[in-house]
Symmetry: C3
Subunit: 206 residues, 3 copies
């Protein structure tokens, strides 16, 4: 009965899953970049741009559907936030990738790979969680783990900043590296916002 009265547009779940899949691609491209030389980084950055473009299309599809649909599987605002934060994850990873190429930074501090590994793990967890929004099945372990990862990322980000300011004497190199590591930190924050939005949705459904 309830279903007949409020048919739920389930395709949102597929759209969120597709959007999150691009984040896995993006995080893996970042990981590849760290070990690559300038020429390879340019190529990887190009592919990152394509992933960002694909994620952008996914977001627009969700937003367009949201503006056209009367009945949604959960609160419009939560769908909007989920799509926006997924988009932010990709944008910040793409910005970091652009800056690595733009600033011609050859050596990145070792701790940057810790940051990127956190992003890879957060992206995988997010991609695995999105399809579970349909059944609301075991989502808590996802948002708890992503919050844990973000706290870890935050700590290593602070350690990295302190280390950079202690060890790097060239202020211009410091400016470049600081901006890159901050974009990576912004991406980790965005993954946490995705997880917090999922928590909000789950709480309302329970």
């Amino acid at each position: 009965m309830r279903l007949r009265l409020t048919p739920r547009d389930t395709s949102y779940f597929d759209l969120f899953a597709a959007s999150a899949a691009h984040l896995v691609t993006g995080a893996n491209l970042l990981a590849e970049m760290l070990g690559a030389d300038r020429a390879a980084r340019k190529e990887l950055n190009k592919r990152m741009g394509e992933a960002e473009h694909a994620a952008d299309d996914a977001t627009h599809t969700i937003m367009r559907r949201l503006n056209k649909t009367f009945v949604t599987p959960f609160d419009r605002d939560d769908i909007y936030n989920l799509a926006s934060y997924l988009d932010d994850c990709m944008d910040h990873m793409d910005e970091a990738s652009d800056l690595i190429v733009l600033y011609k930074v050859d050596e990145l501090p070792a701790r940057v790979s810790d940051q990127v590994q956190v992003l890879q793990r957060a992206a995988e967890l997010t991609a695995e969680a999105m399809p579970r929004l349909r059944s609301m099945d075991s989502l808590q372990e996802y948002w708890v783990e992503v919050n844990r990862l973000e706290n870890q990322a935050d700590k290593s980000h602070r350690k990295l900043l302190a280390q950079m300011f202690d060890e790097i004497a060239d202020p211009i190199l410091l400016m470049k590296l600081k901006e890159i590591v901050e974009k990576l930190e912004d991406a980790a924050d965005a993954f946490e916002k995705v997880a917090n939005t999922v928590e909000t949705i789950a709480l309302k459904e329970s």
Copy 2:
């Protein structure tokens, strides 16, 4: 009948048009600043501050009305976002203007005028589009063009950043210029958000 049942508070359209008109003033003041000397810049910055103040009043009028009105011409959230993003455009242009004076930057890179020209064009398009919200007439060409302009601004912003880091050896001058060009980029982003909100409104109305 429908009109009698849901009288639409049309004055929002006039308020948005007024708000956008201040953006044209602001963008033109920025353009004047680029060629001006320090004394003239101080005076132009004072006028920018007045334009920002007027835009602020327009925003508050919209917000106050929104909190007092039961029936609105379109979704409350969209009206709220439109007013906020128009306000952001002005704030970022005002911040850039303040920094140019505050940091006593005499020479600005040539590409900065490309950024400002984009802001002037985006402001004109926005001011022309706002009154068309009433009829929802030919708004698509507006949001498509503003998105195109923002992509162009983004590309020239990256080129400018790379050039600055290649050519400017003085880290403090680099910090100053970087902050100024980023405020201009923030303004271009805000114009895009205005356009995206108009697209959202048009999609819901269609």
Copy 3:
């Protein structure tokens, strides 16, 4: 009758008051830090972290309740915004505190204490105002005063920036101090957003 039909969950007022109380603690810890040596600052920063954690719990309690409650004392969005902006105030003060320790900045410019005094005053006013949300009693003087304080903070922030760029020759020290004073400015902005949200609520209730 109306009360029976729409029982209002008054406990939000207590939660907002608790959340604002942590801001007073945080602002006072910042003030203590300015005069302290490195060892004392580390200890004060630890206590700031605890205050931030307590504020975080308060925010989560509000959000959880919001997602579980059908009838709220005022608009859900306003409750959400109020909780979020109170949280931002604390986060920015905590970030400033972290950076002071992280960057091992011994001497802070004198004007920084002006910024912190504004934060202390804004925190006190906010903590006093939150309980008055229940009765909507004399809230206008609160939001007017906080807006006045934020404008004052903004002016002194600009003066401080100009002074720092004039007087500090070491670009790396300049980067450190700039980031710290900007976090303090962000905190002042967040207090203004809290006040503006209270104004919005009061306007809707009136």
